[in-house]
């Protein structure tokens, strides 16, 4: 089995999920509570990876992070000559964009399901908006937040198209587990491909099963009504 690729995928998925937790919560909060009329445009943009072919998304990401693009140039300046395409860092950027809806949508739904009166009650008791978010909204939305993080983790673990477009296939740098499986099948090594696939299947199933089990428990302890 290609343990190097498995380890790389785990690192990529963990990092992506962590970044999305930090970026996703404020965005989901804004999408839930903002009175702006044009927020549907942001919602549509966030949901794009759900329908866009991974190759198309990967292509645009590749263009956007190329050394000649503003983002690529900025990264080059900050990292002292580093380049994003065909690097692990580039993969992280692409994965974050690719998994955005998987984090933001469960969080948005969880925030929206928090009784508005509880938030208003906290405000009337003198709690600032940030304190209310931290002490009331987040604890009550924990199941949705956990779901968002786990889904982005599981989704990144198995990604293929975007990774191939942005990262290529460099062992130890950008060769993820799904690309490794593809390589093994191309080399007619069905036994190795079968083992790796089974591992990925088992990990994905376990992660999801634990999430749903945890959610049931959390709901049972903290009912919303």
């Amino acid at each position: 089995m290609d343990w190097q690729a498995i380890w790389l995928s785990l690192r990529l998925a963990t990092l992506t999920a962590a970044i999305l937790l930090v970026l996703g919560m404020p965005l989901a909060y804004w999408l839930t509570y903002s009175p702006r009329r044009w927020k549907f445009l942001v919602e549509a943009a966030v949901a794009l990876p759900l329908v866009l072919p991974p190759t198309v998304l990967g292509f645009y990401v590749l263009l956007a992070i190329s050394p000649r693009s503003p983002a690529g140039a900025l990264y080059r300046m900050l990292s002292g000559g580093g380049m994003l395409p065909f690097s692990f860092q580039g993969l992280v950027v692409a994965s974050v964009l690719y998994s955005f809806p998987f984090t933001v949508q469960p969080m948005t739904m969880a925030f929206a399901s928090v009784d508005r009166k509880l938030i208003e009650a906290a405000w009337c008791l003198g709690a600032s908006r940030l304190a209310t978010f931290r002490r009331i909204v987040v604890p009550l939305a924990v199941p949705g937040i956990v779901t968002g993080v786990i889904l982005s983790f599981a989704h990144t673990l198995g990604e293929f198209g975007v990774v191939l477009m942005v990262g290529g296939n460099i062992a130890g740098t950008t060769r993820t587990v799904s690309i490794s499986i593809y390589d093994q099948v191309q080399a007619l090594d069905y036994r190795a491909a079968g083992e790796t696939s089974l591992l990925l299947l088992a990990v994905s199933f376990t992660v999801l099963a634990v999430t749903y089990a945890l959610q049931r428990r959390i709901w049972a302890v903290w009912p919303t009504s």
């Binding site: 509880l118 009650a121 906290a122 405000w123 009337c124 008791l125 003198g126 709690a127 604890p139 009504s225």
Partner: protein
């Protein structure tokens, strides 16, 4: 005026309903003010506007010398800045926090929460989650939490409506006492006349989004500003008094110099309101003579006002009393201002509300 609320503002809801409230409440006299009106009259919206949870389209709100909202100056304080406590209809207790932490959420210092738990007899419930509490217990927690935040003004949205009838009757007096003891200016929304009478010092009547009348409770009931207010308040005579004796199912109430006998409902002693509908009062000329009715009050006619087929007679029996008789009777009895008259009231027509 240290504790005066003035509100003159307009808010149009998406449904097309327009709240156009213009009211002044001097809390020095009106400690607990009831915001009274039928369902859909905009009571909750007005309360939310006062709390800063909803923004009026235009107008101004001032409380205790501080401007909370002024559309002309583009000024609107947040709920946090207004320090107006809000008691929600379903109490809005934080479901993931214990009773103690719900109260501590509001308390300015951590140690203060324990004081509030003690004051509201909540120590035994401190570790419980809100969903394990009865409605009455939830209300107590919500009230303790609201007061722990040290509000300058307390807004209560139908605080008793989520309770069953028996608990409601019991908690009415508890709520009244708590509010009176706290000394915090309060506005209570209700559509229930009995609740209004049991809880309020003042009353503001809101009908179709407009404040039709605002004043001392008994006065508004006695002199409704218009027919809509009269219809919604329903009882003309609200006489403050004191239960001085109770015997064989009858309670004797001292009101001014006079004594009233009413069917005893057994709701404690002490201060009460005796409520009498104007049409339940019979008038007889001259001084009292014996009838089967328990109450015969000597009085003097203040004014006689014709209202179609009816006549509204205002009396002074040591306390003001309003009677409604047919215009024909008024003419037959030759009721004229200054004449002595006897008001005859059956004990069963007097509804006693303890305060």
């Amino acid at each position: 005026m240290a504790h005066e609320l003035t509100c003159a503002c307009r808010r149009r809801l998406p449904s097309g309903f327009t709240l156009d409230a213009d009211v002044r409440i001097p809390f020095d006299q009106a400690g607990v003010t009831v915001l009274f009106g039928p369902s859909g009259s905009g009571k909750t919206t007005l309360l939310r506007v006062l709390a800063g949870l909803e923004r009026p389209d235009r107008g101004a709100i001032r409380f205790g010398g501080q401007t909370w909202f002024d559309s002309a100056r583009g000024l609107s304080l947040t709920p946090q800045q207004r320090r107006a406590g809000f008691l929600f209809q379903n109490y809005a207790l934080f479901p993931h926090l214990t009773v103690e932490r719900n109260v501590a959420f509001a308390a300015s210092q951590p140690g203060k929460a324990a004081d509030w738990l003690a004051r509201f007899g909540l120590f035994s419930l401190a570790a419980r989650l809100p969903r394990t509490l009865s409605g009455g217990e939830q209300q107590r927690v919500a009230l303790a939490r609201a007061l722990a935040a040290g509000p300058a003004l307390l807004l209560l949205d139908e605080p008793l409506s989520a309770l069953d009838a028996a608990t409601r009757a019991r908690l009415r007096h508890e709520l009244r006492r708590t509010l009176a003891e706290s000394g915090i200016p309060s506005i209570i929304v209700t559509h229930d006349r009995v609740e209004a009478l049991a809880l309020g010092d003042w009353i503001a009547v809101l009908i179709d989004g407009q404040i039709r009348q605002c004043g001392p409770l008994a006065e508004v009931f006695r002199h409704p500003a218009d027919v809509h207010v009269a219809e919604s308040v329903g009882v003309e005579n609200v006489i403050p008094g004191e239960v001085v004796a109770r015997e064989s199912g009858l309670a004797t109430i001292q009101a001014g110099a006079a004594h009233l006998e009413a069917v005893d409902v057994g709701e404690g002693g002490g201060p009460v309101f005796a409520c009498i509908r104007a049409e339940e009062i019979t008038l007889a000329p001259g001084t009292p003579v014996a009838t089967s009715a328990r109450n015969r009050l000597a009085g003097r006619i203040g004014a006689v006002l014709r209202e179609g087929a009816l006549a509204r007679v205002e009396l002074d029996c040591g306390f003001p009393l309003v009677a409604v008789v047919t215009a024909q009777s008024a003419a037959d009895l030759r009721l004229r201002p200054g004449d002595p008259v006897t008001a005859v009231i059956k004990a069963t027509s007097i509804h006693v509300l303890s305060r």
